[in-house]
């Protein structure tokens, strides 16, 4: 028997409570009229979702409840849920207004839902497409989002979403073939012509694209037959009607020349005017567009830069050469040294494997010069003769071409961008899913401050340090002499005497008569994560720093590998991890001076740092990996990272860490920590210190306890 439906009064009561009616003044009678007419399971479903949305925003939840009737009529339950969640997503990303319109504009949602359900989305596929094109290109081509697909020869741009085809699989194929085709334009020299001619003539540009497609397809068929097949799949799926038009073109002799291995883009350009057909085929869906201006700008900048770099490199080679030949280097000659290209056959030319010749001497260019040559050949099809003169002294100022160094501290000034930062997901327990690419983390330096802090600390805790040293020395992995071993480095006299006595009395002689040295390796790697939030200001911060100094002293005795990081930040877009000591650094004066300068910053978001450290640990080989957090309270950030949300994200991040074999442990001075830490870390993996003054001693004690 199914449960009874809720009455209107019950529904209003529920909504009043979850939409906090005494503050929000929403009129719950309005949605209740509709909800009461639903079946009980649907009623529960809607009320439950309303409550989940209310966790994000009350007003939004109210609108959801109001529109729920229409939604249930037009979508299935899964879709309704997705619709609600996309509104809360909008809210997180762009605020209340766009979120409200997402709720109100149901039809739009149904349409985009279709696009999203079977479309390919840049954000999701970029991590596949990027290595794919970099593998094809053999260099660091970039990938980015834009309205249309095109390339400027350094970056390949594709739209945020592509949904031309029915299924996700086909749409991914469309993405893949598009990026590969754009790469082919660069690789096989579509831009090695004077594009200016086409710039004010869209019709001619279109025809050029069509002819280039024929040429590039032939190139791809030779070089990447698998990809060529994929192109044909897309063509028959999406442009079956163009096939005849293309066939017609291919019957023309001057066009057949495009299929030849040595055909160049210039040929496409040359023949455009002479071709007379009734119907030119359309540009195919994977071709993107040709953005002449973009190509020209990047092209010029690169050409100039590479020419400068190449000619300066040649002058270095020339200097080396003359130094090698005679012991006293000759003065600079007025004339620039002229190089020649050696072994210039087609095969080596393609691969950029060309040797240089200077005054009849063969020179094999070093790796960076070779890379330059490859790139120049991609642009010109050869090394232009004027490049082969070594640069004169002071002819170029290479600084001009260096990309401006990015200072992580400046990134947040002006418009915000995420270059050089690492992006992590975050767990939303209410919605039970990850916000993708949610937090932006950056590693920053701490300026060392050379003051008396370290000396004072060591002095203050002199007695403690002495006893700590003693206890830790005992722990240190020491050579142990194992006795009565079946084999070993030396003879165990006691065992041998016993054994001989045994044989005398007619027993079988034991073979365990050796001693063996055995070194116990403490293969431990530990990262300390220190809370640098604003709330640590004052003596907590001081106690943390003192603890770190003492810890470092004892860890040096133990020989365990350790790293120390501080963490703080403000909102998900500014999570900052301060490098205090990395695994590779030695504990020296500079590290001490950094510890001395650990200063309270802003808030404590935690999950993102745990995820980052989990990732760092992947490169560390150790049989025990420990992550120890020193903290003064619950995770807490400026935005929504409060209360349960923060606790649950942290818990999830710890769980991820644990799955990768990391043991997390938390040391805190928050008296209330017993309420939430067991939930986050598990009952045995935390310690609450009541007396801050004892922190330095306790931290070392705890470390000893958990690693022995």
């Amino acid at each position: 028997m199914s449960r009874q439906s809720l009455t209107e009064a019950q529904i209003i009561e529920f909504l009043d409570k979850c939409l906090e009616v005494e503050f929000s003044f929403v009129k719950n009678e309005i949605p209740a009229v509709d909800i009461v007419k639903q079946s009980r399971p649907h009623q529960d479903f809607i009320l439950n979702l309303t409550q989940r949305v209310a966790a994000t925003n009350i007003e939004l939840a109210y609108q959801f409840a109001v529109h729920s009737k229409q939604a249930l009529e037009e979508m299935d339950l899964l879709m309704v849920e997705a619709w609600a969640m996309s509104a809360t997503d909008q809210y997180d990303k762009q605020g209340l207004y766009p979120a409200m319109s997402a709720i109100k504009n149901l039809d739009q949602f149904i349409h985009t839902a279709h696009v999203k359900a079977c479309g390919a989305v840049f954000e999701e596929e970029a991590s596949i497409l990027l290595p794919f094109i970099q593998g094809l290109a053999g260099r660091k081509l970039k990938l980015a989002e834009a309205e249309q697909a095109y390339t400027d020869t350094e970056t390949i741009f594709i739209p945020a979403i592509t949904a031309l085809f029915e299924t996700k699989k086909e749409n991914f194929l469309h993405y893949k073939v598009t990026v590969a085709y754009l790469w082919a334009q660069i690789q096989f020299g579509s831009f090695r012509v004077d594009l200016e001619i086409l710039s004010n003539d869209p019709d001619k540009l279109n025809k050029f694209s069509v002819l280039e497609n024929i040429r590039l397809e032939a190139c791809l068929e030779r070089e990447l037959p698998g990809l060529y097949r994929d192109m044909q799949i897309l063509k028959t799926l999406f442009h079956p009607e163009h096939e005849q038009d293309t066939e017609n073109l291919l019957s023309i002799e001057s066009i057949q020349a495009l299929l030849h291995e040595n055909a160049e883009a210039a040929h496409s350009l040359d023949i455009i005017e002479n071709i007379k057909v009734d119907q030119w085929p359309e540009v195919y869906c994977y071709q993107g567009t040709i953005q002449i201006d973009q190509v020209a700008t990047i092209f010029e900048r690169r050409i100039e830069k590479e020419k400068a770099y190449f000619r300066v490199a040649l002058s270095e080679l020339a200097n080396e050469q003359s130094n090698k030949q005679d012991d006293n280097p000759i003065e600079e000659t007025d004339e620039n040294s002229a190089f020649k290209l050696a072994n210039k056959d087609e095969h080596t030319k393609q691969s950029g494997n060309i040797d240089l010749e200077l005054d009849g001497e063969l020179i094999t260019p070093p790796e960076h010069v070779r890379e330059l040559m490859t790139s120049i050949i991609v642009d010109f099809g050869e090394i232009p003769p004027e490049y082969l003169f070594a640069a004169g002294p002071g002819e170029y100022d290479l600084k001009k071409y260096q990309e401006e160094e990015i200072n992580p501290n400046d990134v947040w000034k002006g418009t915000y961008h995420e270059e050089g930062a690492e992006i992590y997901n975050e767990w939303n327990f209410k919605r039970q899913y990850y916000h993708k690419n949610w937090c932006v983390l950056r590693e920053l330096e701490i300026k060392p401050v050379y003051d008396d802090f370290v000396a004072d600390t060591l002095n203050k805790h002199k007695g403690l340090l002495k006893s700590l040293r003693h206890t830790f020395e005992v722990l240190r992995g020491e050579d142990k002499l194992l006795k009565r071993q079946p084999y070993g480095d030396d003879i165990d006299i006691d065992a041998l005497v016993d054994a001989l006595a045994d044989t005398k009395s007619g027993m079988e002689m034991s073979e365990r008569v050796f001693t063996k040295m055995h070194k116990e390796d403490r293969n431990v790697a530990v990262i300390f994560m220190v809370d640098m939030s604003g709330s640590t200001r004052g003596w907590i911060n001081e106690a943390e720093r003192e603890s770190l100094i003492l810890l470092a002293e004892v860890l040096e005795i133990l020989g365990d590998r350790y790293a120390i990081y501080g963490f703080s930040g403000m909102t998900r877009k500014r999570c900052e991890l301060y490098k205090i000591k990395t695994f590779d650094e030695n504990y020296d004066d500079e590290i001490k001076a950094r510890i001395s300068n650990i200063q309270p910053q802003d808030y404590t978001r935690m999950g993102v740092f745990i995820r980052h450290i989990t990732k760092m640990f992947r490169d560390v080989e150790a049989s025990t990996k420990l992550l120890i957090t020193l903290s003064d309270g619950k995770p807490d950030d400026y935005d929504t990272y409060r209360g349960e949300y923060g606790v649950e994200d942290t818990r999830q991040a710890l769980y991820e860490a644990h799955r990768e074999g990391i043991h997390p442990f938390c040391i805190t001075i928050d008296e209330k920590a017993r309420d939430y830490l067991p939930h986050m870390y598990g009952a045995a993996n935390y310690a609450v210190i009541d007396d801050i003054a004892k922190l330095p001693q306790k931290v070392s004690d705890i470390y000893r306890r958990i690693t022995s």
Binding site: S127, I128, L129, L130, P131, F132, Q134, G135, L136, A137, G138, R139, K140, K176, A180, L224, P225, G226, L227, D230, S351, N353, Y487, G488, D489, D490, I491, T503, M509, E511, V513, F514, M517, K519, R561, D584, E621
Partner: protein, 272 residues
């Protein structure tokens, strides 16, 4: 064909048939010269680029037995030099592989020497300088190497952590030969000789390897080695589709990252 294998002592084992080794530069000449001059040799290079094969080839060329020791982090100096054992109520000394190689004038190849514990690498020091002796402290002997004896170690500088770097005092005793993947043409020839695969497919395999090697540092720790290409080629020769062979023999061997796996599979399916 008999299915029984013979038990041979390594020092009695001479390689009779020429192992195929495609030389890349002057490594054979340099090795021979170093051998004649009694200098120890260090082979540097990434995994699967032919170091072991080169040693087999040189052992055949120089007509000496080859004793290989794969080093690991538990390897002690006794494992190399020797130890006491009990047999029939008496303690007897048993030579380790290094001592056996010295006594028999063999070529001793210590593979991945940095993996061994630091104190272990030190025992090879007196052997690796002009003294050419192996001190056997436990038995109070000093074993002098004959001119035929040769010490070779290998080392992959690529992914060792700073903690595991080869000590200067060790590395400065050796003549260093650097190995790398051969250039495209040679690498294809190696694959063909090893597996009998057809030329075109070999070329494509090499091209695929280059794609993965270019991704080193942007998501991959190492690109596909020659060894992996040989594996894939063997599968293909046995009738497996090239795309499947690449996926199983190469891609899965170089990464576990799910996006990277897809990306690299897309590369191989573009090629074939």
């Amino acid at each position: 064909m008999t299915m029984q294998s013979k038990a041979l002592k390594p020092e009695e084992y001479f390689i009779k048939d020429e192992p195929f080794y495609q030389s890349i530069g002057e490594e054979i000449e340099v090795f021979e010269a170093a051998y004649r001059q009694g200098l120890p040799i260090l082979l540097k290079g990434p995994t699967g680029c032919g170091k072991t094969r080169f040693m087999e080839h040189m052992a055949w060329r120089l007509k000496r037995p080859l004793i290989t020791v794969s080093c690991h982090d538990d390897l002690t100096s006794s494992d190399l030099v020797g130890r006491f054992l009990i047999s029939g109520g008496e303690t007897v000394w048993v030579d380790g592989p290094l001592a056996r190689a010295v006594r028999n004038g063999a070529i001793c190849y210590l593979d991945e020497v940095v993996e061994a514990r630091k104190d272990t690498t030190v025992v090879i020091h007196p052997l690796a300088d002009d003294r050419r002796v192996l001190p056997m402290e436990k038995v109070g002997e000093l074993l002098e190497a004959t001119p035929e004896f040769c010490l070779t170690i290998s080392y992959n500088p690529g992914y060792q952590s700073v903690m595991k770097d080869l000590k200067q005092s060790t590395r400065q005793r050796f003549v260093a030969l650097e190995f790398d993947y051969p250039d495209a043409q040679l690498e294809a020839e190696i694959i063909i000789k090893e597996t009998g695969i057809e030329d075109k497919t070999a070329q494509q395999l090499v091209k695929f390897a280059h794609m993965t090697r270019d991704l080193k540092g942007s998501g991959l720790d190492e690109g596909a080695s020659t060894r992996l290409l040989v594996h894939a080629a063997k599968l293909i020769v046995d009738g497996i589709k090239p795309v499947t062979a690449c996926k199983t023999a190469i891609t899965q061997a170089i990464t576990d990252d799910s996006d990277m796996l897809i990306a690299i599979n897309e590369l191989s399916s573009s090629l074939f």
